[in-house]
């Protein structure tokens, strides 16, 4: 039995339960708004905890990931085991466990409870959603269950805060006591083998020095048919342990206790004894309103149509509903920038503050409304129980790509921004599926790509109807979205058949009963995700904005710029004009723009653009486009501003206003190749830039999040390499093929 630590100032309580047991609502009911979300050190498993006080004692409640079993097959399950065994960094030893069970599905929920009770920690069982169980005709005798389990059993309805005071009182009563002596449901022969394995570990010379290993961990090691523990925390033991385990499992099989089947058999036999006479279930379940809704919502035709309508509504809300808020943020940043410009003298510091700092922060904040709206909708769909149906409907399609329905939500989120999409992939249990989803999520057309699409489509794609009711510009945008999705499908298929090939685990998800979404839970989740985005993307985008600013600003050699013949000519013309004349101001502004453009051309980034021009020439790009594309590698959203600068529209090029956009488009249309009258931009050039932007990994924040989520530098490097190669190839084929067609059709 684990040692129960002496009472500390703050007690640590672990909250554990199956998914869909109302665990999050119970956690919210216990700790209120005092919640914190982060990661467990070294792993990308979300650590959710909160503080509560009871009878003058501070209690930290750690909400463990929703699990069906403590059998560690994934990071989530491993973290839960480690937290309960006191082995997890960043979490003090657990002094009490609250095991949350779904009243309407007690039999299956007691499976996890039996594993938790075996750990010997002080435990309280909370049977949640009693109202739902009663409405289905299920009767539960909590006193009898408590007597049989040997731990307090409290009935709760967390959403309505029913039973929370009783639960807190039970937690207080049990805290600090020794956990009850619990007789394991597994057969004696199994425990004899565990004793033998404990002895094997204590002996040195088995590949590592002798050591004591916690008994629950040894049990899990023997029962772990997936080999996860052998490969992870027992990897150092190598083949001697593998041989020992093989022999041990063979002996168990010969005794009629083959693993892992012995565990489910023994535990379910124990559960039948526990619930016998304490839980009464009806012989036949009457159809509920969840069943009636599911008949429509999971229907192949109606369900798919409703799902498609919901997705269209979600996109509409994300892309149209966010516009006024995005405009407000942009206007606020522009105003702040103008105020700084008005109050500071020209120089490096002013430029850094306006272009680097305010521009960088604004560049991040402008996406926040879309992300908040997206997560608000996802939160509602998740909380009411619909998301599991969406995963069911999408699984038919996703399984053809080698993924499962669970990859759908991350992909959907990635249409707003790849970062929340990659973070949402944590719900995928299978590591290979999760990694594949992370690696293809950046191919979904995020909203940062839209400004450059809007600019180039409006400037170069004719506004013509197609087949009477389609619009060529709309079709071009649709084609770019479709290109991203199709490429993601092909890359996912290739990855699952090559680098990430492996056995596909069965796809199993529970379809929870529908319920009204809890406003508090949804809003809390929305704010949490929004903050995570601002913190994560904000710091990185801000840093790269400053770097790009520096690359475009320095060396800032005024003498060298002013020596340029075209600037000297403009300056001379201006000097000859009457400062009171009507054309003076226009010419002065033009001189200023040209001067600024020259500074950019002579900047480090401008020089880099010229250096790489031969590389991008086959794509139809000159050094200016190359320069804007290089500048947008850390954050693609800055490409429009950079194009504005390199095509001499000035730093304040306002592509949003109608007049500004027209001026911008005209300038791009008039641009010619250096030293010739040949137009720089053509439809193939514009298409090649847009295809490049569709496929390229131009977002340092996304790569940093991939690094964090995969705990490796290899995968962000791989993503960058494959996406950049695809983008170059896509841009090249588009330009060359487009030019060839243009020549043929004259």
């Amino acid at each position: 039995m684990p040692h129960v630590p002496a009472a500390r100032a703050t007690m640590t309580v672990a909250l554990i339960g199956n998914p869909n047991t109302g665990k999050s609502s119970l956690f919210g009911a216990l700790v209120g708004v005092r919640q914190r979300v982060g990661n467990y050190p070294g792993v990308t498993v979300e650590r959710r905890s909160g503080l509560m006080e009871y009878a003058g004692r501070k209690i930290e409640v750690v909400d463990l990931p929703g699990l069906y079993s403590l059998a560690p097959r994934s990071r989530d399950e491993m973290v839960a085991v480690d937290v309960l065994l006191g082995r997890q960094d960043g979490v003090p030893p657990v002094e009490l466990v609250v095991c949350v069970l779904d009243a309407a599905n007690l039999g299956r929920n007691l499976y996890l409870a039996s594993q938790v009770l075996e750990l010997g920690l002080p435990t309280v069982v909370a049977i949640n959603m009693m109202d739902l169980a009663e409405s289905r005709g299920i009767q539960i005798d909590c006193d009898r269950l408590a007597e049989r389990l040997g731990v307090p059993v409290v009935a709760t309805q967390a959403v309505h805060h029913v039973g929370i005071a009783e639960l807190k009182a039970a937690m207080h009563r049990v805290a600090g006591r020794e956990g009850r002596a619990y007789s394991s449901p597994l057969p004696p022969v199994f425990h004899q083998e565990i004793d033998r394995l404990a002895g094997w570990f204590l002996k040195s010379g088995n590949g590592s020095p002798g050591r004591a290993v916690a008994r629950p961990l040894l049990e899990r090691l023997v029962l772990d048919a997936s080999g996860y523990l052998e490969r992870s925390i027992f990897a150092a033991e190598g083949s001697p342990l593998a041989e020992e385990l093989a022999a041990l499992r063979l002996r168990l099989e010969q005794s009629g206790c083959a693993v892992p089947g012995v565990e489910t058999r023994s535990r379910y036999a124990w559960i039948e004894q526990i619930v016998s006479g304490a839980v009464h279930e009806p012989d036949n379940y009457l159809p509920t309103w969840t069943d009636r809704l599911d008949r429509v919502l999971t229907h192949r035709v109606w369900g798919t149509a409703i799902f498609a309508a919901l997705m269209i509504g979600l996109f509409q809300a994300v892309f149209s509903g966010a516009v006024p808020f995005m405009d407000l943020i942009e206007a606020g940043c522009a105003r702040l920038g103008a105020q700084i410009e008005a109050q500071m003298a020209e120089g490096a510091l002013r430029s850094l503050l306006v272009s680097g700092l305010v521009g960088g922060v604004g560049g991040v904040l402008v996406f926040l409304p879309q992300i908040l709206i997206l997560f608000f909708f996802i939160g509602i769909l998740e909380d009411c129980g619909y998301m599991a149906r969406a995963a069911y409907l999408m699984d038919r399609f996703m399984s053809r790509v080698g993924l499962s329905g669970k990859s759908f939500i991350p992909m959907l989120a990635a249409f707003a921004c790849a970062i929340p999409g990659i973070m949402a992939a944590r719900v995928i249990e299978n590591d290979r599926d999760r990694l594949t989803t992370i690696l293809v999520a950046p191919l979904m057309t995020c909203s940062a790509r839209l400004p450059v699409f809007a600019l180039l489509i409006a400037a170069f794609i004719p506004d013509e109807p197609v087949l009477g009711f389609f619009d060529l510009r709309g079709l071009t945008l649709f084609g770019l979205y479709a290109l991203g999705i199709l490429t993601a499908v092909v890359v996912a298929l290739l990855l699952k058949r090559t680098l990430l090939r492996g056995e596909t685990p069965p796809f199993v998800i529970e379809l929870p009963s529908y319920k009204w979404p809890s406003v508090g839970t949804v809003l809390h989740r929305v704010l949490e995700r929004g903050w995570l985005f601002v913190r994560c993307a904000g710091t990185i985008i801000l840093a790269v904005s400053i770097l790009v600013w520096a690359a475009l600003y320095y060396p800032h050699d005024a003498a060298s710029v002013d020596r340029q013949p075209h600037l000297s000519r403009l300056k001379a013309a201006l000097d000859r004009m009457d400062p009171a004349g009507e054309d003076y101001a226009a010419l002065a502004a033009e001189l200023e723009r040209e001067r600024l453009g020259e500074f950019q051309r002579q900047s480090w980034l401008g020089r880099a653009g010229r250096a790489v021009e031969p590389v991008f020439k086959p794509l139809g790009w000159d050094w200016r486009i190359s320069c804007a594309v290089i500048a947008s590698f850390p954050a693609r959203e800055i490409v429009v501003a950079t194009l504005g600068v390199v095509f001499d529209l000035g730093e304040d090029a306002d592509a949003e206003s109608e007049a500004g956009a027209k001026q911008f488009r005209d300038r791009l249309r008039q641009a010619t190749w250096n030293g010739s009258a040949r137009r720089l931009f053509s439809i193939p050039t514009a298409l090649s830039i847009m295809v490049f932007f569709t496929l390229c990994a131009q977002c340092a924040a996304t790569l940093a999040v991939i690094r964090r989520e995969t705990n490796s530098l290899r995968w962000p490097a791989f993503t960058f390499a494959y996406m950049t190669a695809l983008a170059y190839l896509g841009g090249l084929v588009t330009y060359q093929l487009g030019t060839w067609i243009a020549v043929r059709i004259g």
Binding site: R108, A225, R396, S404, P505
Partner: protein, 82 residues
């Protein structure tokens, strides 16, 4: 009348059955058993196909098993209400 054991995917909409056995990689079988899908449990087909939705002890579970995993069931005497 005793019904023959058939694969889960052949169960019709609304048809009830008892799980006879699950065959496949031990870890995958173990996973399904942990979720409550194990020998002797009564299920009812809610939405056939791949993936399918079955009702199990009042709850619904969506399952797609690949070729390696097979859930074999024995249909119950009567058809449950659709």
């Amino acid at each position: 009348m005793v019904h023959a054991v058939i694969p889960l995917k052949r169960l019709l909409c609304g048809q009830a059955a008892f799980v006879n056995r699950i065959s496949g990689p031990p870890d995958h079988v173990h996973r399904l058993e942990e979720l409550g899908l194990r020998g002797g449990v009564r299920i009812e087909m809610f939405r056939p196909g791949s993936p399918c939705i079955i009702r199990m002890a009042g709850n619904k579970v969506c399952i797609r098993s690949d070729g390696l995993l097979e859930v074999l069931v024995q249909p119950a005497e009567t058809l449950a209400s659709p």
